[in-house]
Point group: C2
Chain length 303, copies 2
């Protein structure tokens, strides 16, 4: 594992994810400078008050002027736009900073960036929360979680090393994937589950008996992520449209199968189906609960 | 609140739910006798080893002989069968014990019991876990959770008081509902969410990229209950068939709406939809997370 030794990290956008990364880097003993740019001063001010960043600016050119590592911390669409603005400015420099983003979609963001900057390493930490904003930052958010990087053949290997070292310092493990595989896998593992949670929540919102009043732990978990940021998930849905619709169609087919078996009162088919699911889910416990004592980090209880 | 003052509680079936109730009653300082009957000796032996029950028998008649309160702790179908066997035996007695069950379905179980015993109070604690068996019993499982009772006009009010007092001692709050409302509300709030979790898990089990390997906290929560007991959920699906198919159809309609909006790239519709869900979910936070420091009681971390 390479040590993360950059002198300065600048966040373009300061919220839950970038704030959590800042906290994790500090907790790991990294002593470089941490600053941020953003379109809204209150979050930046709040980040400084909380001791998450050392300083901030509202001037984008000033922000990127002396950064070793630039981390885009914005929803997918804004990430693409920021990259399109920033990458050409950096390319002319002698000391070209490393750039990475953290958007849940890679294809759309890279296309939108529209500029082949060899020290840009597209990234996506598989960690989040239904909460948003720098106030919700959590030092252990990335502990044991996967960070997927999707470099291409032109990406500078040293830049990949720097980004990998940064995330490893924050407690994550690195996976390299193609852009297409990332977007298809995440449609199935994250984007479609979010849509399913929204759909279930909406069905309950119009339920004649207001059945959510009678919810327990199952409903708590099945609807938690329906509390997620609406703008962020609108972006995800729009920018990973094709893979997401495909993933949703596959879940729909499974629901239809279950409905058919229930309607036909086919007890053995149902029992076999549920047993397969139990075994499959349990064989992934270690990935889904990387640190069991941290299992509550994204619970409602954490603000 | 009436104090729970029965001399003896007998569980017919000892597993996660009955074991947790036993632990909660002891923790509340209740000092009566706690025993159990069950079809399989190892769970009963284990319950005694763990100090959850004082004693057990494999003889059903012996078990119910001197009980003040009989609690059926079995999956829905077995609960109905046990009630059909036990209620007629109790009805002839001078001192008729209070009987309650804890099955997730009320209509089917009551029909199956097929005997109008006025001291039978159908019940359903809205708490559970994807784990099963007495080893998974948790003393705080019912803290702040709802217990729904569905007595009818013939039910002895004193029996309702006894069952209410027992659950209140365990930390729960009591709601009285009609059988039909219970089964429809629970189809929407619990049974359909379980089917959705199974469907999502199955879609991932056949995913060409094995996308569950890339799951984070969202997928952890959205598939946790797919680890639930297959037999129990087969019973639920079969015994609440009509209401469940109806609830699933309503979720399917919502998924179809979302897919249509995604496909049409209708960003404002999606943002409005997600915002509605966020607000609705958050307005139910207090119910779904009754004791935030207990939010991990049904997490994978608890065994």
């Amino acid at each position: 594992m390479v040590r993360f030794s950059a002198n300065s990290v600048v966040f373009l956008g300061l919220g839950l994810i970038s704030g959590s990364l800042a906290l994790a880097l500090r907790a790991a003993g990294w002593q470089g400078s941490l600053s941020a740019w953003g379109p809204r001063e209150p979050s930046l001010q709040r980040g400084q008050e909380l001791g998450i960043i050392d300083g901030y600016t509202l001037d984008l050119d000033e922000a990127i002027q002396s950064a070793d590592v630039i981390v885009i911390g914005a929803p997918p669409m804004a990430s693409g736009d920021l990259l399109a603005t920033v990458l050409p400015k950096l390319d002319a420099r002698d000391q070209r900073p490393v750039v990475t983003d953290m958007a849940s979609i890679k294809g759309w963001v890279i296309d939108r960036a529209g500029f082949n900057y060899s020290r840009f390493v597209p990234g996506h930490p598989i960690a989040g929360s239904e909460h948003s904003g720098v106030d919700s930052a959590q030092v252990r958010l990335f502990q044991g979680r996967e960070v997927i990087l999707t470099p291409n053949e032109d990406t500078d290997p040293q830049a990949i090393e720097v980004v990998s070292a940064m995330w490893q310092a924050a407690g994550s493990r690195i996976t390299l994937m193609s852009v297409a595989d990332h977007d298809a896998a995440l449609a199935a593992s994250s984007h479609s589950p979010h849509m399913i949670a929204y759909a279930l929540t909406k069905a309950l919102a119009v339920d004649p008996l207001d059945a959510m009043r009678h919810g327990g732990g199952a409903l708590r978990d099945m609807t938690r992520i329906a509390g997620s940021d609406a703008l962020m998930w609108r972006d995800v849905a729009l920018t990973n449209r094709v893979a997401l619709v495909d993933a949703l169609t596959r879940v729909e087919a499974e629901i239809a199968t279950l409905k058919r078996d229930i309607d036909a009162e086919d007890g053995s088919a149902l029992e076999a189906y549920f047993t397969t699911c139990r075994e499959f889910r349990r064989s992934h416990d270690a990935i889904l609960n990387p640190l069991t004592d941290l299992s509550s980090v994204t619970d409602d209880s954490v603000s």
